[in-house]
């Protein structure tokens, strides 16, 4: 959208008239806070962490600081913790991503239904949990999912389930429990999809009806393609977020990785390497590995767009 709104600027600084040059200079002055911030808090740290990863830098620095080349990366290759934590992250993402994408879309479809009475109230209340402070939400769900006294298991028992799952205490159910906890903040994505759905031109639905398309055919051939840019945006941010996931396990069981090593997520391992063991050089190499993985995933997503994302008014 923004590229249409701003005027095309294919002008060089030196070829500008004095007046235009003055305008550009004042404009840059206004952009200065962001430019400084970008350099100081994004670009320089990004490069610095690459440099860190080539040094034997630690918080206490018992050995003299020196350039060790790719040694950190060699250690990384033989560090079994890394690969198991990366596997944990991917396993969790494989469960969390599809559910985390489908539920907000389904909720948005439900709330957007013309048959629903009191849509505004439903929208407001479904969004509300997204406002709850992160830590408070975790404790609420930790209690809800308590194997003995939690409401979820009491409900399951009332429904006749003899041995309800022990949720966060069982390596087999802990990911599902974390997904459920994460779903409480579904409101943001839901509102995005809702806006996407309301932006679908109603002529398209009329045309589908004339063609005799049922609910499913309309969803598949009209609704989903029309909101695919929103899906793309949501999916990209969700993927990036999932690769960095670790705060919920950090709070729930103080980052021990329990049960077993099931919640030793990659970023949790990185966090411990840096904050608990003070190994900055090695931590930075982990961060760059994660960055590389995320970059590859993001590029694949962007490349895949042409097969499934429909941008109205663009000939791709």
């Amino acid at each position: 959208m923004f590229s249409e709104l701003s005027r095309p600027q294919k002008i060089r600084f030196t070829k500008l008239s004095p007046l235009a040059r003055k305008e550009a200079r004042i404009g840059l002055l206004f952009l200065l806070p962001w430019i400084i911030g970008f350099l100081a808090f994004t670009l320089i740290p990004l490069v610095a962490s690459l440099v860190f990863s080539l040094l034997n830098l630690t918080l206490t620095q018992p050995e003299p600081l020196k350039f060790i080349g790719l040694e950190n990366y060699q250690t990384l290759l033989s560090d079994s913790q890394i690969w198991s934590s990366l596997l944990v992250t991917v396993k969790f993402a494989a469960l969390a991503l599809p559910i985390g994408l489908a539920i907000p879309i389904l909720l948005a479809l439900l709330i957007n239904s013309k048959y629903l009475k009191g849509r505004a109230i439903f929208r407001t209340l479904f969004y509300a949990p997204a406002i709850v402070p992160f830590v408070a939400a975790i404790y609420a769900w930790n209690g809800m999912l308590n194997p003995d006294t939690g409401w979820v298991n009491r409900l399951l028992q009332a429904l006749g389930v003899q041995e309800p799952p022990t949720w966060v205490n069982d390596p087999n159910t802990v990911y599902l429990a974390l997904v459920i906890i994460g779903l409480w903040g579904v409101g943001n994505s839901m509102v995005l999809y809702l806006a996407g759905l309301q932006g679908v031109p109603s002529e398209l639905y009329d045309a589908a009806q004339v063609d005799g398309a049922g609910w499913w055919a309309t969803l598949r051939n009209v609704t989903l393609p029309m909101i695919s840019p929103v899906i793309m945006y949501d999916m990209t941010l969700a993927t990036i977020g999932l690769f960095q996931y670790f705060l919920v396990p950090l709070v729930i069981n103080s980052g021990t990785g329990a049960p077993g090593n099931a919640t030793m997520f990659f970023n949790l391992y990185l966090y411990k390497t840096f904050f608990a063991y003070g190994n900055m050089g090695y931590g930075a190499s982990l961060a760059w590995l994660l960055f590389a993985v995320i970059l590859v995933a993001t590029v694949i997503l962007f490349k895949s767009q042409k097969y499934w994302v429909y941008y109205a008014g663009e000939s791709r």
């Binding site: 408070a136 609420a140 509102v191 949501d234």
Partner: protein
């Protein structure tokens, strides 16, 4: 149905459609309400748990709502009533004398009768006759133990200081992007948007190391100072809004001799109030809930910690008191939830601008 097709009178057709729509609408609304209730259940859990006693939290088979088990007062002493399996079936008896392998009970209905001796461990017995008893004093206890006023003050300070930084820097930058012809502006703007997708993990180690070296860790500075250098989310939202303000007014003011800063403060900002309110509301909720930043930078300074971190610290010390944990959680979420219900229209609008129009 057959009659209708034979005799397709418009009125009966319409009536059947109205009926069908009514049924559909009832079904959809009921489905949505059922999902919503399940979705909001944790709020009820928090409220009910926060009003329970510690004992009720850990005991099995107790009511969902806050309640106290009954006691029996006999000769100025209070005895807990248990549900005891006896030869005459389950009986509610008051525990008179505790024993390791056998205990003595008295029957509250007939206390003068011979005490009943029961073999078994009384600890395994369930309490009985739970009566509704909300323990509001839990909130007072939690309030004092977590030092809520101080933590509330810290959170407010954090939210307000970063709000000032964000508004100050983001309006300037958004104005620059919205109104000036600068060579390479599109590239800069693309870089700005790309930072949304940059994983925070990759910059946190050098940033933290740098703040350690200059002695800022353990102070508010690493949390507040960066907000004075703009962020992609708010710049984007404000810029989108600034672009909708007609340029004619800028130009008129310019002819009157107003400089760029004057135009920003006297023309753009007054008209951009809805957008400024939106980013402010968003920011306050974000700051209120922000966990990781304060967690790493203020970890050894409990007197500076905001609610989010305080809550986590409190729970890691008091995790044997889950009722107090829920009470503090409720206290912590009250402010943002209140703000949300007051400003929810602004909220929804803001998410839509940043998410869909990008």
């Amino acid at each position: 149905m057959a009659l209708q097709t034979l005799n397709p009178s418009a009125r009966s057709l319409r009536r059947s459609r109205v009926l069908k729509d009514f049924l559909k609408s009832t079904a959809v609304t009921f489905l949505a309400a059922a999902i919503l209730i399940a979705f909001l259940l944790p709020f009820a859990y928090m409220l009910f748990s926060s009003l329970k006693t510690k004992e009720q939290m850990s005991e099995l088979g107790t009511p969902l709502w806050p309640a106290d088990a009954s006691t029996f007062t006999y000769k100025d002493a209070e005895y807990d009533v248990y549900r005891v399996p006896t030869e005459q079936g389950l009986r509610d008896l008051a525990l008179f004398k505790k024993g390791l392998t056998a205990s003595t009970f008295i029957d509250p209905a007939n206390p003068e009768a011979e005490p009943i001796r029961w073999t078994g461990s009384w600890r395994a017995l369930p309490r009985s006759n739970w009566k509704l008893a909300p323990h509001w004093e839990n909130f007072m206890t939690a309030w004092k133990q977590i030092n809520f006023p101080r933590m509330f003050g810290n959170t407010l300070f954090y939210a307000v200081m970063t709000l000032i930084g964000m508004l100050f820097s983001c309006t300037l930058v958004a104005y620059g992007f919205a109104r000036f012809r600068i060579p390479g502006k599109d590239i800069l703007f693309t870089i700005l948007l790309a930072t949304v997708f940059l994983p925070a993990t990759v910059t946190v180690i050098p940033t933290y190391t740098f703040f350690t070296k200059i002695g800022w860790v353990g102070t508010w500075l690493p949390l507040i100072v960066p907000t004075f250098f703009a962020n992609a989310f708010d710049v984007f939202l404000l810029r989108q809004f600034f672009l909708t303000i007609p340029r004619e007014m800028d130009e008129a003011a310019m002819l009157d001799g107003a400089g760029p800063l004057k135009i920003l403060t006297s023309i753009i900002l007054p008209q951009a109030m809805p957008a400024l309110i939106a980013v402010s509301v968003f920011h306050i909720v974000w700051a209120w809930n922000d966990f990781f930043g304060p967690f790493i930078y203020l970890t050894n300074r409990p007197e500076l910690q905001p609610i989010s971190v305080g809550l986590q610290k409190f729970n890691s010390i008091h995790n044997t008191n889950p009722n107090l944990t829920q009470a503090t959680s409720l206290l912590a979420l009250l402010a943002p939830l209140l703000l949300y219900f007051v400003a929810q229209r602004v909220f929804v609008r803001g998410i839509v601008i940043t998410g869909v129009e990008k």
